[in-house]
Symmetry: D3
Subunit: 326 residues, 6 copies
């Protein structure tokens, strides 16, 4: 059984089915064309170069194609590269399923849907409930399939909904422990806080930023969408609408991180903290899985470029089984 492209070390040999994530054509200094191909399986992705490529190659190796590739792992500036020795497109006779090569949340779309619906039922305030329910309904399929980011945390199939689920579970502990927190605001804020990403990002796969994502951003997009849904429901003048808009507006906490206002009530602040905590745990856990016990990880951009230590007695074997993969 293959160990997954994210877990190879320098010098190891690879022979695997992989999915092409993106391709760019370049011209080498000898004047010949080459392809820069990002190859992925469900554990991550890796850069490779196909030197001296033919027009056939350009036709075969396109985003979404599955290939069988063989070669070695090298490193360049501290990041792994895949030095291809042989590569060919997979055919019908190859026993490989494209869906098995896509990184995805550990819960299925149905499981995520059921879980979030359960939290939705716990919201008692009718204004808050109706808005949340209407927004979920309007974005239904995309909400459960989108990643939460292009390249930072939860950048995998259903990453957005999975991130929301983890935050809801933590939020439940918070409201149990601190009864003065308003559960309705907190649950609703969590469910909708990143929903603007459905317009900010281009789609479920080969995700990039849309023009609206670049110029307006998911936070302002979502503030507008809450206003719109509230108008449609005829409840635009309720204070709850203002509070939900504010929760979305302020959930990055800091102007430099994109929030023009800091959180200005308890539940908005806690939404920010839980969002930040779940994102960091996701990022840290994935970096540590690729690090040997007793060693330091790669520098992690989303953690202020820190490198993290994996204690020498940390024996988690999460690399093995796909079922435990986040």
């Amino acid at each position: 059984m293959v160990k997954g492209i994210a877990f190879y070390k320098e010098g190891e040999h690879v022979h695997e089915y992989l999915l092409i994530k993106s391709v760019t054509k370049g011209l080498a200094s000898n004047g010949k064309p080459f392809l820069t191909i990002y190859l992925q399986d469900k554990t991550g992705d890796i850069e490779s170069k196909l030197w001296g490529c033919t027009t056939d190659d350009e036709a075969n190796y396109v985003p979404g194609a599955v290939v069988l590739a063989e070669g070695d792992i090298t490193t360049f500036r501290g990041r792994n590269q895949f030095k291809i020795r042989t590569i060919r497109p997979a055919t019908e006779r190859d026993a490989v399923n494209k869906a098995d090569l896509v990184m995805a949340a550990p819960l299925s779309v149905d499981e995520l849907n059921e879980k979030i619906t359960r939290y939705l039922f716990e919201i008692k305030n009718p204004v808050i409930q109706r808005i949340t329910r209407a927004l979920l309904k309007k974005n239904h399929r995309a909400f459960f399939e989108y990643p939460a980011a292009v390249s930072i945390h939860h950048n995998f199939l259903s990453g957005l909904a999975y991130h929301v689920c983890c935050m809801l579970d933590m939020a439940k502990s918070v409201v149990d422990l601190y009864p003065e927190i308003d559960k309705d605001l907190l649950y609703a804020g969590i469910i909708i806080h990143d929903m603007g990403k459905l317009e900010e990002l281009s789609g479920v796969t080969a995700t990039s930023y849309t023009l609206s994502g670049n110029l307006i951003g998911h936070i302002s997009i979502m503030v507008t969408n809450i206003g719109k849904i509230a108008e449609e429901l005829g409840i635009a003048d309720k204070e709850e609408v203002l509070l939900l808009k504010h929760m979305v507006l302020s959930h990055h906490e800091n102007p430099e991180w994109g929030s023009p206002k800091p959180p200005m009530f308890k539940e908005a602040e806690i939404l920010h903290i839980l969002d930040d905590m779940d994102a960091k745990i996701n990022v840290m856990t994935r970096a540590i899985r690729k690090t040997r016990p007793g060693e330091f990880s790669e520098r992690i951009f989303a953690m202020n470029n820190r490198t993290l230590y994996r204690p020498s007695f940390d024996e988690h074997q999460s690399e093995e089984g796909p079922e435990s993969f986040t």
Copy 2:
């Protein structure tokens, strides 16, 4: 003729009709109540204390009342205070007009309206024109009467529209000089950039922040309103709508100043520069009017707490005539 409450110096005697801007009640250390009253005329306002006030005083001296006050100018921590010797409410027999005591723009509502309408006609792009026209129509009266701020720049009657007019005049010079600037985007952006203040601020007089102003802010309010008007006009999917939203979103330039995105096209950047320049010129001009030639002004909060020098050969006599007052 009186010289105006903003222009007295320490030690001078005052005897003037003044308008009460705000009143707060306090308890002195001897246990007796007193009133802190801000008195204004069209040149500015000043703090005063009414010690040992009676219940009659509390009934007479309320925001909006006109009084005849007499006393001396003192200073405390570098700011003028008005030491009241005598004060009485104005009656019908007093030859004073409340409207003459309100700080206002040098152009009337009609003049402002006519001027802005002329610029509106120069916008050729139909999407941009329709949105700008519809927003102006929807907010008609308030747009021409609101101040531009609670306490910083253009905080006077019609301050918002007057600020827009000055910016439009400067913008005309810019597009004449640099023909590659898109006039339509720039004019429209200027007209609507601060329109969210009509919801952010509580009203034309005794202005404070609304709940929506505090939690959402005029920038995000206006982005939502552009989206709404575009839906109503059936043109919500046009790129122009996105660009106008972005101009409003980015016109404070910097996250710490409230813009979650920096300007990302030429006209958005120029909108920011003209907004900043007009606000600063307004603030500086008013501070210098209160400063004698050859001296430094008070510290100016909106200019990074700088103090400005008035050259000893600066002979502008703007203090005298109300017609030249900005």
Copy 3:
């Protein structure tokens, strides 16, 4: 029943038993001495002035004395003051218990001890367990009685241990949700992270900073103490000791907040987040309790000087019963 000194509004009348927290003597501009007295009950404290004080007054009104005071609430620069009309020392005949006037955690010392011990038993790693147990034993009584700060969060009797308990409860949710987190490190880190405050702060009441607190600080004090206990237990060379030291060292995350190193493994980062979250929830909850629904709180220094909004539909009645008081 009295409502508690923290909850009076300007203009209300007070007639209550109060405990003297601190006293300073001053000289008024008329040359007469006066006392600035901070009075407290279990809900908070308030500043008052005793003008024209006698030598008897100076002898009677000392920190720790209980008094019966009557007067009015005034405000100065946005903060409440207590204008004393009459005051007298409480005597044996007054039905008042000093312990009832002290702010305290909602759990008793025994309850806190039992709860933390239960978490201690869940730590399986023997090195981590032995160090944590030894440190708890060494500091036993003080650990369960100290406040967590002089004036910011959890600044009340048993505040430190109560803060630790809340964090442990949240930590349990985290390790249940994310199984790759090392429970042993996280629980131990939480229990010991602020233990250096037992040397940094002068004591349980009238708390101030010690010389060692000022010059070294609780973080460095505790790093040294972990080293010392590990030597005594003969396990100073274990990696776990280094990791626990690092958790304490880095738990303020940021150099400006006192941590010379940022968290460099998962559990250290999560310790920081939970510490920050619990402190903020404590600070926010207490500020909101003093705020009426539909209004903004005082500015909160520990929250970046923000003011928080209490939603108009927030009906929590926490002011009434002491049992729910945190």
Copy 4:
């Protein structure tokens, strides 16, 4: 007709006369020498490599030489490079004029001179007029030929004087609109603000920093020069001299940008704003010309590394005709 080296896209073929801007020799990893040559025409410049160069090549390809080059545009790290296929020095028989290959302002030296002289005549204050006139006279030729910078804004022939002209035109609109601005100070400040660059920069072409530019900088150089000219004119003790020095000293506004004092009177502040606006419009316009409608530009260092969007409906055809080139 050729389209200009700045406007080619990746993959396009080039066959053009070009001017060599700079040359550096290097040693390839195969031990053979190569030349890195920057080639320019009036639209901009591009990097190229001449691999395996001979001693003849080194003699022929020197700064200032005109060549006929043919090859392809490639990209490296997001910037264009020119992959040379053939290159040869231009000879007398080639119909190419070196002056046509130099980037230059859209106005001639004579036009710039005439325009600035007209503004000079509008300065009424005799001290200000004499100093400005004397400084212009002393630096006459260089002032009208120098670029305004090595590599940021207005880095082309006569860029400095052209920048001054644009600022003067804007300044005229400002003084027309806001009559309290002192026209004399503003015009004079604009004319002399960057004159120190005549000592800071090494010359009109192949511009680099002089030792004095590196160690002292154009701002301090110019402050000294104003003092010197005032001494020569026997008016060194006039307040106007101090004010002009201050305008130069403060025109970068901010200590990090090189101004030890912020602007401390109105005209100094406006000088800074106009300088900044004209520089930014120049930088933005040139970046947008190289960008296709509906796309984002390269990152622009002088705009805080932002990338700018060109609206899809922006149809300016400035690339075609040299006459419209700024």
Copy 5:
């Protein structure tokens, strides 16, 4: 023998001859005039109020007058005030010498002159020597009498020259220890680095900022003066002149502290370090003299608002004898 106004503690009684440093007139809330008088002796100064002052008082108590005052030390916001009980002007019969009430350097003008001249002779490079000598000669008397600042470090008679002497002594140790440092540059740079303060500050006593000090600052003033003297000596084109200008320009190291360029050669950097060290030692030593062993000093603005600890075993008795006073 009196202990000096700087060394009294709250509650102590004062009966001393004092010199009036500055006077401001105010109007009390009862409408009566009062004087705010700063009184000084050679150890420091203190604020006092003269309530209900007469016109005689106003005539008698002016800056520069010597008085005999008696009263008590009180504190307000952590700073001492002098509560005057009786005050009268000193007459010819009073055995008091005004010069004894002025804070001054521990070395006389002649001693400072002799010492600096000795260092001047050690400068071997003729260009550096001639410029330094000429600048010293031109500013002779003032250079040896001026303070080094209005209110921070070395703000006493001859403070500037004394600061230069201490720095020269330290510089000698540096060049002895590190022979590659250029002694000529370092000594000359130290002698002239703050000479611009002779124009920045208004005079030896009652020192304030001049207009030129406010608008240009001592750094830029001195850069211009070096240029001027070099012209007069006919050596303006020497590299040494540029280097001396740069040393002055960069000696505050950081743009926010007033240096538009950071030090760009060894001796310029060391000049900055020695300047900073001597200023800090002066500030710290004076703060500690006023602090009892085992206590913390007042907050020190010039040390980033830090408070400094005086070790409990620090027994220096510098308060007593004037001869040891810096």
Copy 6:
């Protein structure tokens, strides 16, 4: 005689015995292995590549081996590289001594020891003396051989002790000049301030960070060690111990540079200044030695990435003789 690897310029030929400092193996894009070798002599080190290396090469060229190498100096991104033409291991017949190829302090271990011991004897306070003596004794050999850093200042054999010696010499001048400085604290603080580096760094050669260095850092390591030694000497409760801990804790001055507390007494502040000054002089002097008169040095990371100018009249010939090398 060879001039030393640090002093070659681009294009020069090298033929020298060199010591291998570190080796990494890589895979070239043609699939063949190569070695990246850092070669050093006593003047510095340089990067080189050995392309197409054999298994013999891998066995021969290991850290600590001496080689005879011949080739040319090239530059890459502004830094020198050594292009190897021929290389072979040195044998017994080669007249080369490994110790001559190691960068070292200009004083021998014995000289350093003697010098520091002399300063130790000047410490009169018995607590301070005993702690300093005990710490020196415990770390004896390592203290005199360790470098002071991995790659910044004093990164050579005995660099730590040499840095301490220079600081002590400067400190002597400071205490002579300013008698209120406590000599005992200052000398002791200097001797022990960086002693934690003996645990932070891995060893005398091929120095890297230890796990404890990464997670705790030399400052916190040393604070703990002072506590430990004080316990062993039975003087842990002395104020002097606290002060010494604080000096170590605060000697980087600033939280971002690793000090959780700023210096809080005079001697701690001066320790920081002397540490900073000696480090900067070391860094600057070494950069200038490699720079020709009249040119600018490479950018210096430890000096805020500044480039330093070497005056054209600076004739120091320090490159020649090893005896003058610091």
